[in-house]
């Protein structure tokens, strides 16, 4: 047994000691905790940690197998994302106790704060006193036992699991109902109570999901095959797209969902060109060997940075929206190209981890597939706030794609129309976000870069928060970004174009004199190396390709990604469809595309007179349209519109 005095050492030092002694199987006593945050975070050894006093936020968070005993109170997010093990709290717990747990046993002898058990997947959360507002909010599974009163709106939007209440059920949440409990369930609860030496003789009322909101009432009929060109092109006012839209809405009576990218004309990188004549492009031989493209991303706070062979990454896309084989192919291609891949929502598969040499693990509000073990084997961690295609909305995965295997990795019921939460349980402002970032750093020993994914909205403000909250870099996603499924109107009418996003971000940072202090990865409808170079000239440190890699890997752009029956085996979880996809072959197709990007970046950099991509700058660009000129403040040069299109030249 080892004693750690928090009056003497910092929490960071304490956590290092806990992990060190944990590996040796030593139990730990923490004295003078004084409600400090992040005690024990990231521990994965089966030891006992006794906290002699009160603990702060995220006590026992992101742990597996350990037993925690806290004598008094705990702050927000007790046992965040625990896999197994237990926590016993002698006093009260603050908000979101048991958030996102995947199997632990959490016992709070006193009362618990609001939104307890939010997005929990499995395990038991017991409260000896009264619960507060919205216990079991958005829970997917597991059980909550409340010996006192339930609090208002218990079980709000729960998708699965059970809530047992000994006292009064004060009011039921949306899509929750009273259920019948069987003798065996109650026997099991009594055995649990006995194990934790809690005497309670009363009965229980049970609350379960009512099932009214797990599926769209009417499923959406398939679109007619309208080629993307017709879908997005300029045509008459009542064009085929509009007509079809009205036809389908007249059947389903709600907004429509579709996949793929935005189809509305917006100011974009194609409205910008290079200031100087670059007709010398074709004379450049082997530019790749002549241009320095090596880029390090995310080392600012002492973490091991991502090491990119060129300023390019793969944009976050989920296993779920995409098939396992597709994620594997993209991972392989990223390794072949020497760049980084990103898990997107929904967890990390072994196939993806093995395929990608550098992999960013994304943390979303539903914490679907998020866990300490995959965090530890990631090369970077990323907190998703929103995405360019549908800023402010969570992911959508229609029932067809929520297969048994997929449901298991995400920890959710199989076959529901999954609408992922649009908010994080524990991030309701920049102040909470900062404490969350610190939790992730504590859990991984400050070794990994931590980024934030921002869909372009009020970027001028948001990027300042990202900087102040200590992120290593920002993945900035414009409105032209694609998605596996999103509300059709949202995709086309909500958000900020990619070129506006980068300008707002740079302006925001300049306002607080932090222009070079946080790296920006720009994405959102980037199609080739030309777009990449323009982005770098505007001020991005690197770019990311999402949809372009999908298209390179065989996508036929039918816009039916949400349906789940993708004929190419990309946007599907159906094994019959997926077997059409051959990851080894597509990995090479994607890789060849990425090499074309590399060549274009190198050739353009040379043509612009530099031998290092870091030399690219705003003076290399001019705007071709008045809109782009206003947005980017570049010189307006309509006379250059007739110049040979660059894509052909390169």
């Amino acid at each position: 047994m080892v004693q750690i005095d928090l009056a003497e050492v910092t929490v960071r030092q304490a956590n290092e000691l806990i992990r060190k002694y944990g590996a040796q199987g030593e139990d730990i006593d923490i004295v003078n905790p004084d409600a400090r945050h992040h005690i024990g975070v990231g521990l994965t050894d089966a030891i006992t940690v006794r906290v002699h006093g009160s603990a702060g936020y995220f006590c026992a968070g992101l742990t597996d197998a350990a037993r925690f005993e806290v004598k008094n109170n705990v702050g927000w997010g007790l046992g965040d994302n625990m896999y197994s093990g237990s926590v016993v709290v002698g006093g009260n717990a603050s908000a979101i106790a048991g958030v996102a747990i995947r199997g632990a046993e959490i016992v709070i002898r006193g009362n618990m704060g609001s939104r307890a058990g939010q997005v929990m997947k499995a395990g038991t959360l017991l409260c000896g006193g009264n619960a507060n507002f919205m216990a079991g909010y958005l829970m997917y599974g597991g059980r909550i036992i409340i010996l006192g009163d339930s609090g208002e709106r218990v079980g709000e939007d729960m998708a699965g699991g059970e809530i047992y209440v000994g006292g009064e059920v004060q009011s039921l949440g949306s899509d929750a109902k009273m259920g019948d409990s069987e003798g065996a369930e109650i026997d099991d609860i009594r055995a649990f109570l006995e194990r934790y030496e809690i005497s309670y003789k009363g009965g229980f009322q049970k609350i379960v999901n009512e099932g009214k909101k797990l599926h769209y009432k009417t499923s959406e009929q398939q679109m007619r095959s309208i080629p993307f060109v017709a879908f997005s092109g300029k045509s008459d006012y009542w064009n085929p797209k509009i007509q079809e839209d009205i036809h389908i809405k007249s059947q389903i009576g709600r907004y429509r969902v579709r996949g793929y990218g935005g189809a509305r004309e917006l100011p974009h990188l194609s409205d910008i060109t290079f200031a100087r004549d670059i007709s010398n492009l074709n004379d450049i031989s082997d530019p790749v060997s002549k241009v320095e493209m090596h880029t390090l991303i995310g080392g600012k706070h002492g973490a091991t940075p991502l090491d990119l062979s060129m300023p390019v990454m793969i944009a976050p896309m989920s296993y779920g929206a995409l098939s396992r084989s597709t994620k594997q192919a993209i991972g392989m291609a990223s390794s072949l190209a020497g760049i980084a891949e990103n898990t997107g929502e929904g967890g990390m598969s072994d196939a993806q981890r093995d395929a990608a040499k550098q992999l960013i693990f994304q943390c979303l509000g539903g914490r679907l597939g998020w866990n300490i073990h995959d965090m530890k084997r990631a090369n970077g961690l990323e907190i998703y706030i929103s995405q360019g295609a549908k800023p402010g909305f969570g992911g959508q995965l229609m029932a067809k794609k929520v297969t048994k295997e997929l449901a298991e990795i995400r920890g959710i019921p199989q076959g529901i129309d999954l609408r992922s939460p649009s908010r994080h349980p524990d991030i309701l402002g920049g102040d909470d976000l900062l404490i969350k970032v610190e939790e992730l750093r504590e859990a991984t020993g400050y070794k990994l870069p931590i980024s934030v994914k921002l869909g372009a909205g009020r970027i001028r403000d948001d990027i300042k928060i990202a900087y102040k909250d200590g992120f290593d870099f920002v993945e900035l996603d414009g409105m032209q970004g694609s998605t596996g499924a999103g509300g059709a109107e949202v995709m086309e009418y909500v958000g900020i174009p990619t070129i506006s996003a980068i300008m707002d971000a740079l302006d925001g940072l300049a306002e607080i004199d932090a222009a070079d202090d946080i790296q920006i990865i720009l994405m959102g409808g980037l199609r080739d190396g030309v777009d990449a170079v323009k982005s770098l000239c505007l001020g991005a440190n690197a770019v990311a390709f999402g949809n372009a890699t999908i298209v390179a890997g065989g996508c036929i752009s039918c816009m039916q990604c949400h349906v789940g029956q993708c004929v190419t085996g990309i946007a599907t979880q159906d094994p019959e469809h997926e077997k059409r996809y051959r990851p080894e072959i597509e990995a090479h197709n994607i890789h060849r595309f990425l090499e074309s990007v590399r060549w274009q970046i190198a050739a353009l950099t040379q043509a612009l007179g530099y031998d290092d991509v870091k030399s690219l700058n705003r003076d290399d660009l001019v705007a071709l349209t008045p809109e782009a000129a206003v947005i980017t403040r570049l010189p307006y040069r309509p006379d250059l519109r007739e110049r040979q299109p660059l894509v052909e030249a390169v």
Partner: protein
């Protein structure tokens, strides 16, 4: 985006180390915001007098502002008892017994580059950019003794990092009312226009100023602080946890979604409230406190004499 703190000693005496207590509590939650820090401190009550604090900046512009303020005080029959310049502030104690609201608005407009931070018989607001210790170094908050007070650390989001954007906010036009707020009032413009139609003036676009004016207006119309807080939960939309103080009382309100943290500890001698328990523990190191978290949609008040 911030951390808040409040303390009240119950015995009604003005000799408690409230400045030091608030510095400790804010240092404990400084991680919630490092852009600016501020204090609302209630000391000895100056009957028939008012304490005024202006932000005037430094150098020649500050001298000019000070001169203009002095002229305006004279115009409004406010006789200076004592005054001084500390850092970027000009502070004056004046004899005044006229209508406070019109006087306060006149002071707001006394000098184009000066801003009123607080007016009160016992209230002093001290706020500036930097941490709790930075602000203490400039204004010697630790020397302050009193009966109660509020504190705030800020992570600036929408508005700039400037001393006048720091909290606490004084209820513009009302003496001795201060507020610290963590959250966002989403019906801000609707509520503000309603008050502006009744000739209230706002010095900033910060939603916390609105909360202060909203409550002070109610109290000026004879509504007790407790009732005003109750109404605020109905009238204000958004996510918020705020603390409010007057000459004799301290109170809190928390929104119905309970999205912003707040925890409190009370014993026979004092009540302390903060965003996080770690701040409360700064006053009671090594002790596990029997704290309480206020439920969603709740409010409460405490007064000096009880």
């Amino acid at each position: 985006m911030c951390g808040i703190a409040g303390i009240m000693f119950k015995n009604g005496r003005n000799d408690h180390e409230t400045g030091m207590a608030l510095i400790d509590m804010l240092d404990g939650c400084q991680h919630r915001g490092r852009d600016s820090t501020g204090f609302a401190l209630y000391g000895e009550e100056h009957r028939n007098e008012l304490k005024l604090r202006f932000l005037v900046g430094e150098g020649a512009a500050a001298n000019e502002s000070e001169a203009l303020i002095k002229t305006a005080l004279e115009t409004h029959d406010a006789e200076i008892v004592e005054d001084k310049r500390v850092g970027n502030t000009y502070q004056a104690l004046v004899k005044f017994d006229g209508d406070l609201r019109s006087f306060a608005y006149a002071m707001e407009h006394a000098a184009p580059d000066a801003k009123v931070i607080s007016i009160g018989q016992s209230l002093d607001i001290v706020k500036d950019v930097g941490s709790a210790h930075d602000v203490d170094d400039r204004f010697h908050v630790h020397e302050f003794k009193g009966s109660h007070g509020l504190g705030h650390v800020r992570l600036a989001t929408e508005s700039d990092v400037r001393p006048e954007s720091a909290h606490p906010f004084w209820a513009t036009g009302f003496s001795d009312v201060a507020i610290v707020h963590n959250g966002q009032i989403t019906n801000y413009w609707k509520m503000r226009r309603r008050l502006e139609q009744r000739d209230f003036e706002f010095r900033t676009d910060n939603d916390s100023e609105l909360v202060a004016v909203y409550l002070a207006d109610k109290m000026a119309n004879g509504v007790a602080l407790r009732e005003a807080l109750k109404d605020s939960i109905e009238d204000l939309d958004g996510t918020f946890s705020f603390l409010v103080s007057t000459k004799d009382e301290i109170g809190y309100a928390k929104d119905r979604l309970a999205a912003k943290p707040m925890v409190m500890y009370e014993n026979d001698d004092l009540i302390v409230i903060a965003s996080e328990e770690v701040s409360l523990n700064r006053l009671f190191p090594g002790q596990a406190l029997n704290t309480k978290e206020p439920p969603p949609g709740s409010y409460d008040t405490w007064s000096k004499s009880t």
